[in-house]
Symmetry: C2
Subunit: 258 residues, 2 copies
């Protein structure tokens, strides 16, 4: 397979850096082709703005969506964006690796999503009408590819359990899993989460590598999270609410998993 690792940690000699190095080696030894977007090393521009197009805004006002659409359609995107889109097209599997900072991805990675996910590439794909709300949530440019998060967390696993004070990890990651990865078409694998990263000695690191290695070995065979596709009958359109007969007793994030 072709595997793209998008990696966001400022210190290569960190636990994240070591896990990244391990992953690349393991994947290459298994015969995969691997590319790494090391966002800090690339000095990735985090903030989406009018400079993301090589021409001035079409209007006096910069419109983040419409100017993205114009730049994407006319080959006018800044080169760093186009290059990352090319890597996504090349990849069969995407791995996003990052430390959980304030219950989400680091800003530099969020800015990768915002800038690379152009209108026409990751959203605004397919027919948009009151009868069809685009090719998204299971369809789209990146359909047929797989994605997985590798996340390090300072707190304890219990803090992220069903009744843990930070909220359940699956709910904290839902906006990324469902809203960022499933939205443009990825099949999303269960995440690999490392807790309590401050307590990682050599022995624990070896154990983590064993566990992560097994997940990497199984990338092609792991069952994705069973998110419900938007356009296969579970949702009323254009309200985009679950039909009454689908999981009638459920609300919230979990209702979108079949």
């Amino acid at each position: 397979m072709n595997i793209l690792v998008v990696y966001a940690h400022p210190e290569p000699r960190s636990l994240n850096g070591s896990l990244r190095n391990f992953s690349v080696k393991r994947l290459e030894e298994a015969g995969h082709a691997v590319q790494v977007s090391d966002l800090y090393a690339m000095n990735w521009k985090a903030s989406l703005d009018a400079n993301d197009s090589r021409v001035a805004p079409r209007d006096l006002r910069f419109d983040p969506s419409l100017d993205s659409k114009h730049a994407f359609e006319h080959g006018l995107q800044s080169e760093d964006i186009a290059r990352e889109q090319e890597k996504l097209r090349w990849a069969d599997t995407l791995i996003l690796q990052f430390p959980l900072w304030w219950f989400s991805m680091p800003a530099i990675l969020k800015g990768w999503v915002e800038r690379v996910y152009a209108y026409g590439f990751a959203y605004g794909v397919g027919e948009h009408s009151d009868a069809r709300w685009g090719d998204r949530y299971g369809e789209g440019t990146l359909a047929g590819k797989r994605a997985m998060l590798v996340v390090t967390v300072g707190g304890w696993e219990s803090h992220y359990s069903a009744r843990g004070i930070n909220g359940p990890i699956d709910d904290i990651l839902f906006p990324i899993h469902h809203g960022i990865l499933y939205y443009p078409g990825f099949d999303v694998l269960p995440p690999f989460v490392v807790y309590r990263t401050g307590r990682t000695d050599e022995a624990r690191f070896a154990t983590l590598c064993d566990e992560l290695g097994r997940r990497l070995d199984d990338l092609a065979n792991t069952a994705p999270i069973a998110f419900r596709p938007q356009n296969a009958g579970a949702y009323d359109i254009p309200a985009l609410t679950l039909r009454p007969e689908i999981a009638p007793e459920m609300n919230g994030f979990a209702a979108h998993i079949g």
Copy 2:
């Protein structure tokens, strides 16, 4: 009151820009002192890294937490960070205003949180032991202050309803409300959310301003979201799970609201 508006949109002539201008005027006319951190206009550095301290990392390896702690304790933070912390100390109320991009705040604002929320300022405050897990979630440096989100959303309100495809807006915003605002001590007011922003003509804008104006007029009197304090008996420490007798039938984000 002293009110800090942290605002993240790249185009001043946008709906967000117009709502920001309206808010500042309304608040000033009501006699409040207002400061605005216009992150795009300030060219805010979004990515947390070793340059956030005016000295090199204490170790060969940059450690985001420990180097933040060192810089905060010794007055070595970069000036843009110290300035924002000063504004937060000055403020009685914080308003974060932003467009919802990929189900979270824009990268530039996430980077404001990551960099301004230093170790010793917004986390790592108070005793940390197996008997007490710091002053956080209801206590901390920013306790006694209020915070409110003003968020613009492209999609429809139904898409963000209890059974809407994007997930309920309260759950999407929980990591910000609870994890970013309540964590360092803010009382968090219900958010002001504008949906379907692509359809905002003059008449609708006037209605939005009326609604937002009422929320701004009521800042001091609006009941905060009733998040459960960490250190008032609802949680077992150090597991930091809800005690069995607290909302025994509930799991997930909603269990942390009393």
